[in-house]
Amino acid sequence: MKYKDYYETLGLPRSATQDEIKQAYRKLARKYHPDVSKMADAESRFKEINEANEVLKDPEKRAAYDQMGSNWRAGQEFQPPPNWDAGFEFRSGGASPFGSGGPFAGGEGFDASDFFETLFGRRGTGGAGRRRGSVAGEDHHAKVLIDLGDAYRGAERTITLRAPVEGPDGRIALQERTLDVHIPKGIRPGQHLRLAGQGNAGSDGGRAGDLYLEIAFNPHPLFRVDGADVYVELPLAPWEAALGATVDVPTPEGTVQLTVPKGSAAGRKLRLKGRGLPGKNPGDLYAVLTIVVPKAETDAQRAAFEDLAKAYPNFQSRAHLQQ
């Protein structure tokens, strides 16, 4: 297990006041919140910031953390000293000291690191503590990554979920379960599948919660998805764009032939109606034209470009730059 320097994570000296901690956390949280930030490592950074804040904002946890000393360096191999938490209260009661949000795959709240869990215990499900009578199970959320082709054809996925389960001794343990799920044809990125009764079990006869699966697509080397529409880049030779041509276009359902009208400019979008994602309102597939200029390497090729230039004595490629 590696030591985590929570002060370093928030960019603060160990002498920081509680107000400074709050300020630093808020600033970094706004910067790295995965719903807001476009940075590639936003999610992992945000988790670290959140974890650091969970410890440092709480005077008692902070005091216990500080007590381990300031000689540790981030990333250093670490074992907590025996009885390091003697005299502190945060472990007692069994209930989670944190807010709501469950520790499931796909993540809500924050996924505590091993370092955090060793020191402060595992995060519970939130709203823990014993309730009387039948209680409905919580809804469960997870993210499922599929390929574009799965959305065109429908697919089956085996997913593994981790759910917190309270044992007879009142301790919370994570239990794994696997489910085979049918991914319906035509599903779009960002949509959710609801599986009734597949969330957390209820207690004392309460109904089980539902399972919500958020669908995300693996990036595809050729196709880009926007809602139900799919875009593919279609490179053309200059003469194909000028004279028109019939070319093969890849689609997620296989290659189709497309007629490029003569006089097509780069950036022109040719629509293949109904060849986007299927569904009640199927999307369209757009071939976005680009023009590739071949290299002039042989004498004959150079001569061909020179002839082209001669054929267009008045061609003004930069007319729009003239003032």
Binding site: R26, A29, R30, H33, D35, V36, F46, N50, G99, S100, G101, G102, E108, G109, G126, A136, E138, D139, H141, E156, L179, D180, V181, H182, P184, I187, R188, G190, Q191, H192, L193, R194, L195, A196, Q198, G209, D210, L211, Y212, L213, E214, R224, D226, G227, Y231, K269, G279, K280, Y286, V288
Partner: protein, 102 residues
Amino acid sequence: MNQRTISSALRGSVVEEDVELTTVELCRACQTSEQQIELWVFEGVLQPRGTSRESWRFSGDSLARMRLATRLTRDLELNTPGVALALDLLDRIAELESRLAR
């Protein structure tokens, strides 16, 4: 012989297309309170069908929107109008990015 295997895989419904959520379902799915949902409705963040609180029905899109609002409220300690503004701005960014990519 033509033998068909019937898959035992679970079939769910696509929330955004086939589902309307009640206030209670939305609360459970987003782990939030009915009072908070009411605040979102009065702020215009959610626009349910139906006239009274009991008869409110939320479109499937409300799920993702509400979960996003809940995360922003919790993680950034924003108030309701602040979250409403952030959601509007995120919508605009998404729309501009999608236009830019086309």
